[in-house]
Amino acid sequence: MKLRFRLILFIALLFWAAGIFFECIALPFNPLIIGYPFVYNTFSHVCHQDPDKLINLTCGSTLVCARCTGIYLGLLFNSTINIFVVLKIKTSLKLLALCTVPMALDVLFVVINIYPYSKAVAFTTGLLFGSILFLYLYDGLNNLIVEIQNR
């Protein structure tokens, strides 16, 4: 994928990730607060936003839960690396399963009360899942661009 497409992908993910920290971003840019309900509502489509599961920072809390924050930051993290070094990790179902299982197990263990919800564990497992998800997304977009260009 050409650098410009990788940059577009990075900017889109950066913009999305910035929305998660809207409360902190709105602090120095006060008028932004008028858009708070709209941004809050936007993220309500992609996360349950349970107040007990949000990450609390000194400037405010995230607009999505710890797990979703991990997923989106995982996507952004790999996208950032991908600007400088094109990731050539071959995607496979085993790799996807390997990175999804910890998150699925964490959800399951919390639901059946084996251990209580931990933001750190949720964030870490989400980050792992998000990182691998980026590879699939990148491959998918890459193939889509090739298909469109070959038309």
Partner: protein
């Protein structure tokens, strides 16, 4: 329409799950990407072929699943709001107000923002309908669901193609 029946079914399911609180908290951000994946799987079952799914088809199915989910999700949300005269926005409004009051902004801006909140809340409590809320969720649902659905379709097509590759190799 018949071509996209699987997207319709999966989109309808995702739209319903969007308004079911327990399902929403369990599946979280994965409802729509999984719905797009299911739409592709259903289509593959309905039209069996050894050909790989093109990314264009994956993206198209994802987009249409997202749009159907937005349509049904919005309709259910508005319908439930109309009947119950209550929704998530009304419930979280006291929290939002507290946050705005604590926020270091000018008095004029604070009053303006709180007035908008109050207006939406009163409309919903009184009539079960608010134009601002309706406009906001239509835009939000359409844009977010189509983007997330398309991403789900692209990733889903990749996963299905890899499964086919694995099967061919064994």
């Amino acid at each position: 329409m018949k071509k996209y029946i699987s997207a319709f079914v999966a989109g309808f399911g995702a739209g319903v799950l969007h308004v079911v609180p327990v399902a929403k908290s369990f599946a979280c951000c994965l409802i729509l990407p999984v719905a797009s994946f299911i739409a592709l799987l259903l289509d593959k079952k309905a039209n069996p072929t050894y050909e790989k799914i093109s990314m264009k088809k994956g993206a198209k199915f994802g987009l249409i699943t997202g749009l159907y989910a937005a349509l049904f999700g919005t309709a259910f949300d508005l319908f439930i709001t109309l009947i119950t005269k209550n929704n998530d926005i009304v419930s979280m409004l006291p929290e939002l107000q507290k946050m705005i009051i604590a926020f270091p902004i000018s008095e004029g801006l604070r009053t303006e923002v709180l007035n908008i909140f109050e207006h939406v809340r009163n409309d919903i409590l009184q009539y079960g309908f608010s134009f601002t809320y309706t406009f906001s969720i239509i835009i939000n649902n359409t844009v977010i669901n189509s983007i997330v659905g398309t991403i789900g379709g692209l990733v889903g097509a990749q996963v299905i193609n890899q499964r086919m590759n694995n099967r061919d190799n064994t």
